[in-house]
Amino acid sequence: MARYYIDKYTGHLERTDLYLVRLVKKDGSVIEDLEPRKLFPFSNSEMYITLLDKNEKEVGFVRKLDEIDEESRKVLLDCFKEYYMIPKISRLLECEDKFGVLKWTVDTDRGEITFQIRNRHSDIKKLYGTNRVIVRDSNDNRYEIPDVTALDSRSNHLLYSYL
């Protein structure tokens, strides 16, 4: 089946649950319980959004958020707010390196949190060609530092040896 591209003219989205939407197609047909997912959660989060049905099969596709109508856009953004949790690290408060385990305490846009990093080489990654750093903790939670150069000097100092 060809990919169903959703834009202002071909479809409209309504939020039906915490993270689910209803797709109303141009021809009036309705598909319930679709889960919007970002295809590039890190690199390009405003573009390429897929809508999956219960069996994780793609039934709709949004190329760019500004191609769909205002209301649908808000629906998607609201869903994403619930679905995606990638706290943005604004400050590194403490950095303990003991017994081979890295323990960070950081300040994020969602508050202060302490987590552990098991593999410092693969779990702290600077995205190629940017200043963004993606961090994965020992439980597979994700965090991001949107711009390393914007960190204060103490944070930079703490982060320094791991980049």
Partner: protein, 756 residues
């Protein structure tokens, strides 16, 4: 008071709050401490459950959520989202509620909690449901429950809370055989330390008395004794170094072999929990760290301590005032060196990261050179490498400044410290000379003092850094103890050896779970008569292999019984039992050894005739004779690589040779082409005649000889009978056969087209 399961250390007040939310009749059974509020902000929120209710409490707001009685819950589930998840409750009135938002830190606990609620609602006993819950809590144990310290690997015993006496006893076991050598070596080092203190004293007499007095005779004596002192000193140092190496080697060899041996006998359960890479690291890396530490603690600490004390005593005896003067720069230098080490550590790590980045580009691209060439990606590949090298160069250049500046500063401090003694001591000497009070300080004394002062820095620095090396050793020790303390498979050398394993095999109500949280096999009842050829089919993850694993006794902690000839297999001697079973895996393991030894596999009782015979029956002889080195070809050497099918035939020969009573094939032909499959099939048929055989197979054509088919789905046997019976039933097996014969036909017609 009832015990409360909890996944994180909370304050006493918080625990009290949690307990107060339950009551005497309905105590809180478990608490899942999460990290976020329902609004996805970090805060301490807990999911709480009693025997009949589930609810949450937000410590940030001090609020309790609505309590859901299990009886009003239609379904409860955890929706895993991105970076967080939501536990949702659907009540019988059709409404869905968001109960608890969690980060992935507690996903396993939340899943288990949902299962707990469902199980109890469906009538399972609370104790049963709680024991499952408890298992999940135990598995998550990556911090020590007693002291809250992060463990070096999940589940290892905490070295800090471990009985110190026991830790010492463990280490003592390895030190004891070497104790004589170690003691001698310590004694020698006391002598060498004392000897090292002599030259400055002699220098003093040289400068003060002998040279001013022009006493050539004494000069000769002193010079000769200095030479002797040096010779003896370095001779002893050499001997001691050799002795330490010998006993150090013995310690590490013993430690390694014992850990390795222990690892051999550990049950599969251990390897499910620990990656093989981690085990390899423990045996090769951690043992070396521990050995180095043992020598450090028994030797260096003693030596350095004596040196330190010796120097101070000698110096104080000569002149206490000057001693104090000359020691003033010591703290400064020590602190400076410590700061230096702290400062440069990040640089070293960073440089290390960059250079490993270069290596990873290399290991990524050079083996993949064919792909690079076929997509003409040479330029991009070079670019990537150049970038990596450039990044390394930039960092290393930057770090170069600090890496060179700091040692320069520290050494400068030490030198300046010497100058301070010259300045102060020089003044004292001049004063003494000018006042004619020659007794206070002489030139020679000053010179010897400066030598002593410089000898002082070594031991002081050693003690300053002792804690770092101790920490490393403790982490290694923790991981090693995990292996040494684990329960081994216990049934070697005991149990029955007179059971006829060719007998009837019977699975009686077997239930099995890897970690108590999810049942992998449910209520398995199966009878295999002697000589039966049983085909086991089912989708991936259905439990086929687990069934075989139980029969092979990789896991013994199942419910129910597996009997052979009426005897529980757990009562049979492990060695006797396993050597009566021939096991052929999907991907056969070959060892870096000759083909001959790969077939004989460590058993010298077989003659060459038997081995060639086994290889012949396994259809392996024909390709072995084509090897220039024949049965002496070493696998993995100079191009002696075997194809998948060839390896498979060798592993069949290996099984064949042992003349097993029971044969187990785990998808033996899954990864070979159809012609090879035919050869292997032929080999298998020769092998199975007259033996009880179990075969797991994806390709149903492999099972043409089977007289019994068992279909496993989702941990249960859903169909069992002769192939004809199952075909007549038109159930799952029937459908599988249909699908496969259809795709076989398709493949055949495609083949026909290509050849036409």
């Amino acid at each position: 008071m009832d015990s409360l399961l909890i996944n994180q250390k909370l304050t006493e007040a918080q625990i009290q709050t949690i307990r107060s939310l339950g009551s005497e009749e309905k105590p809180i059974r478990f608490a899942v401490v999460g990290e976020i509020s329902n609004e996805a902000k970090y805060s301490t929120c807990v999911l709480l459950a009693t025997d009949s209710e589930i609810f949450t409490y937000d410590f940030g707001k001090g609020e309790e959520s609505r309590r859901y009685a299990f009886s009003e819950i239609e379904s409860i589930y955890c929706k895993r989202m991105y970076g967080n998840g939501m536990m949702r409750v659907k009540t019988f009135d059709g409404e869905t509620h968001d109960l608890f938002r969690f980060t992935f830190t507690v996903t396993a606990l939340c899943d288990a909690a949902a299962k707990y609620v469902t199980d109890i609602r469906d009538g399972e006993s609370t104790d049963e449901a709680l024991s499952v819950m408890q298992a999940v809590y135990e598995k998550l144990l990556s911090v020590c429950p007693k002291c809250g310290r992060t463990l070096s690997a999940p589940g290892v015993p905490c070295i800090h809370c471990m009985d110190k006496g026991r830790v010492f006893k463990k280490l003592w076991k390895y030190l004891r055989p070497e104790i004589v050598i170690l003691t001698i070596s310590v004694l020698i080092s006391v002598i060498t330390t004392a000897l090292a203190l002599v030259p400055p004293l002699l220098t003093k007499t040289l400068v003060d008395d002998i040279i001013p007095d022009r006493n050539r005779q004494m000069l000769t004596v002193v010079v000769i004794s200095l030479v002797c002192v040096h010779i003896i000193h370095y001779l002893f140092t050499g001997i001691r170094g050799y002795m330490l190496r010998v006993s150090g080697n013995k310690i590490i060899a013993r430690l390694r072999c014992e850990v390795y041996e222990k690892a051999q006998y550990l049950p599969m359960r251990f390897y499910d929990k620990t990656s093989t890479g981690a085990v390899i690291n423990r045996i090769s890396g951690d043992t070396a760290t521990i050995q180095a530490f043992m020598l450090r603690i028994t030797q260096e600490v003693v030596v350095q301590f004596f040196t330190l004390i010796g120097i101070v005593i000698v110096m104080l005896c000569i002149n206490w005032k000057l001693t104090l003067y000359s020691l003033t720069p010591v703290p400064l230098v020590v602190i400076g060196a410590r700061i230096f080490r702290k400062k440069i550590a990040p640089f070293y790590r960073r440089i290390w990261r960059r250079s490993s980045g270069v290596t990873s580009v290399l290991t990524d691209s050079i083996p993949g050179i064919r792909v690079i060439k076929s997509y003409t990606n040479e330029k991009r590949s070079t670019e990537r490498f150049t970038n990596a090298v450039e990044e390394w160069r930039t960092i290393d250049t930057k770090a170069g400044k600090i890496l060179n500046a700091y040692p320069a500063i520290v050494n400068c401090l030490i030198s300046c410290g010497g100058v301070v003694i010259w300045a102060l001591g020089g003044n004292l000497v001049i004063n003494g000379i000018s006042t004619g009070n020659g007794g206070s300080i002489s030139v020679g004394l000053l010179v010897s003092f400066i030598s002593y002062a410089s000898m002082f820095y070594g031991p002081v620095n050693f003690f300053a850094n002792l804690s770092d090396s101790m920490q490393n050793a403790m982490a290694s020790l923790e991981r090693i103890m995990d292996i040494l303390d684990a329960e081994p498979e216990h049934d070697f050398g005991k149990g029955m050896t007179d059971v006829d394993l060719g007998g009837r095999i019977e699975f009686k109500n077997v239930n099995f779970s890897f970690d108590r949280t999810k049942k992998t096999l449910k209520n398995i009842n199966l009878v295999i008569e002697p000589g039966d050829i049983v085909g086991i089919v089912g989708t991936t993850g259905s439990g086929k292999s687990t069934l075989i694993n139980l029969l092979l006794r990789y896991y013994d902690h199942y419910e129910g019984q597996i009997m052979i000839d009426g005897v529980d297999i757990r009562d049979i001697d492990m060695h006797y039992y396993r050597s009566s079973i021939g096991y052929v895996q999907q991907e056969p393991q070959m060892f870096h050894d000759t083909i001959y030894n790969n077939i004989a596999y460590g058993d010298s009782k077989f003659s060459a005739d038997e081995i060639i015979n086994a290889a012949d029956i396994a259809n392996a002889h024909e390709f072995i004779v084509r090897q220039p080195d024949g049965y002496d070809s070493v696998l993995g050497e100079r191009g002696v690589g075997l194809s998948g099918g060839e390896k498979q035939r060798i592993s069949i020969a290996r099984a064949m040779l042992r003349n097993p009573k029971i044969l187990v094939f785990d998808e033996a032909t899954a990864s070979v082409d159809s012609e090879t499959e035919h050869l292997i099939q032929e080999a298998i048929e020769q092998l199975i005649s007259g033996r009880t055989t179990l075969m797991i197979a994806h390709r149903l054509s492999t099972l043409s000889k089977a007289n019994k088919i068992v279909v496993v789905d989702n941990g249960e046997i859903i169909e069992c009978g002769t192939p004809e019976e199952l075909m007549a039933m038109e159930g799952k097996y029937f459908r599988l056969v249909q699908i496969q014969s259809m795709s076989d036909k398709l493949a055949e017609s495609r083949k026909a087209e290509n050849f036409a």
